[in-house]
């Protein structure tokens, strides 16, 4: 359930909800970190749930000593009122058999809060790509029927590639075709449920493998940026500077320092 930080619940009607799926390489979650950090979004509440493994830590977006002591939990909601953007960040994995329950609770909140649309950032196993997918850009999108009317033209203008259908049963030659997102976590469930509930949802995903997924996250936010224009590209900046601010919690992603005795 959504629990606001302030005494009263904020008005989220008409806002766009950005959220990650816990998926391969945690690409969606890393992308959300970049968005929240770069836009300096402020925390407006928690989506308190027993469906994800508990974790706590100090402010992952701390920029100075003063704001580093704020406690963060595994599911938090941030907002940028000027852009009518709300971001949900998930920081741990689902407890077994609880992911479907989470999807139901989340979509119920989406409906009751009056969000205009939901954008899910996700990823899929890159080793599952077919030959055509291997030769094209590793980004795909999916739209629910209610979203297609408003956004399909924009996607065509951007030259974006819709996620292809693949055989439901890969081993069978004449199997039916359906949307499959291997490694996508709750992406498919969210998409299917949104289709049946008439929720306007777009899924943006990148084909990725486990490893250093920061470049994948940057790729995904740039893909999203082509559509939403979250950050305007600066004409006078050098090509090497990125407009995305890495959060302070991205330090030591691959472990502590090395013991000098090793060498």
């Amino acid at each position: 359930m959504f629990v606001p930080c302030a005494d009263s619940a904020p008005d989220l009607t008409g806002c766009t909800l950005l959220m990650p799926a816990v998926s391969v390489g945690n690409v969606g979650q890393l992308a959300m970190d970049l968005i929240i950090s770069t836009l300096n979004m402020c925390k407006i509440g928690y989506f308190y749930t027993d469906c994800l493994v508990p974790m706590v830590g100090n402010n992952p977006y701390a920029t100075a000593e003063e704001n580093s002591a704020e406690l963060s939990i595994n599911t938090e909601v941030y907002s940028l009122p000027s852009r009518k953007l709300v971001a949900l960040q998930l920081r741990s994995i689902f407890i077994k058999y609880k992911s479907k329950s989470f999807c139901e609770k989340l979509l119920a909140w989406v409906k009751s809060s009056g969000f205009s649309r939901v954008i899910v950032l996700s990823s899929s196993h890159s080793y599952h790509r077919n030959d055509l997918q291997l030769r094209s850009a590793p980004f795909r999108y999916l739209l629910t029927p209610s979203m297609q009317k408003s956004v399909q033209n924009k996607m065509k203008n951007l030259n974006w590639q819709e996620m292809e259908k693949s055989p439901c049963i890969p081993e069978m030659k004449d199997s039916e075709l359906c949307i499959r997102i291997p490694g996508g976590g709750i992406t498919k469930t969210l998409y299917d449920e949104s289709c049946s509930k008439g929720i306007q949802m777009a899924v943006l995903l990148k084909f990725a493998s486990e490893g250093d997924n920061i470049p994948d996250a940057i790729g995904l936010v740039e893909y999203l940026n082509e559509w939403l224009q979250i950050t305007k590209p600066c004409s006078d900046s050098k090509p090497s500077t990125l407009p995305w601010k890495f959060p302070s919690s991205w330090r030591l992603l691959f472990g502590s320092g090395l013991p000098p005795a090793l060498f």
Partner: protein, 268 residues
């Protein structure tokens, strides 16, 4: 997929934990009513049950509703429990007011009502001299302190872990906890998880003042040096005044250590 050195292809572990999701989808399609019933029975068996202190009958109301208090201290793990037993519970008289009974597939105990002290997973005690009974809003007036240990290899730092002065104490506190903490705060990117994180998350969301003292140590079994690393917490407001006799406490701690040492040596 990944190929190992010997050429066989194995499924690469996915840290986003998504393998289960696909299995779950398949299971959902093939699940029979019998499977669902078995899963439901297992979930019921895994439920945590609260029992009354003396009678060991089920507690129908939440424990803190029956025994509202202003200070709730939770120790998780052998070193934290030893610290609390020797320094805090050794001063004053504490009565057992309840315990929890739980079972899951990891437990080695049989499912019995009568728990021996070695089997009880969680026992609740109340200080007889100061029950701190408050009225109808125990939540608002309550302060929670959690003590636990973590292995030092889980602590991320730019320096080498071997250079760290183990054991050391770090703290995490909720927004409404306004008192001073007795050690430095846990820096990013370090996190806490499991039960301490679950308690702290609850407190943060529902605006209950709570503090977690996390002791990073290289000895996870009962160890004198690790237990003594919790001592600075005695100066915090939550534990102040509860530890009255430090020399006696240190003696009790040494006795606890000796008992466990003898038990753990299988060669004498």
């Amino acid at each position: 997929m990944a190929a190992t050195f010997f050429g066989e292809v194995v499924k690469a572990p996915c840290r986003a934990g998504t393998e289960e999701e696909e299995e779950e989808d398949d299971e959902g399609r093939r699940e029979t009513p019998e499977d669902r019933e078995v899963r439901r029975q297992l979930a019921k068996k895994r439920e945590v049950r609260l029992l009354q202190g003396q009678t060991k009958t089920s507690l129908e109301v939440p424990l803190l509703e029956k025994y509202p208090c202003s200070k709730f201290i939770i120790a998780i793990g052998s070193n934290a429990v030893a610290f609390l037993s020797s320094f805090v519970m050794n001063s004053g008289v504490w009565e057992e007011v309840g315990c929890t009974k739980l079972w899951n597939e990891w437990c080695r105990t049989t499912d019995t009502v009568h728990l021996s002290p070695t089997e009880a997973f969680c026992v609740f005690y109340r200080l007889k001299s100061n029950p701190s009974v408050f009225g109808s809003c125990p939540r608002k007036n309550m302060q929670i302190t959690i003590l636990t240990c973590r292995h030092i290899t889980e602590y991320k730092t730019p320096e080498a872990p071997s250079s760290l002065p183990s054991p050391f104490l770090k703290a995490l506190k909720t927004q409404t906890y306004k008192d001073a903490v007795c050690c430095s705060l846990l820096e990013q990117p370090n996190i806490a998880h499991d039960l301490p994180a679950a308690v702290l998350s609850y407190c943060q969301v529902w605006k209950i003042p709570a503090v977690l003292y996390l002791c990073y140590t290289d000895v996870m079994q009962l160890d004198l040096v690790t237990v003594e690393a919790f001592k600075p917490a005695l100066s915090s407001r939550s534990l102040a005044g509860l530890a009255k006799n430090i020399p006696q406490s240190t003696e009790m701690l040494k006795r606890l250590m000796t008992t466990s040492e003898i038990q753990s040596n299988i060669y004498t």
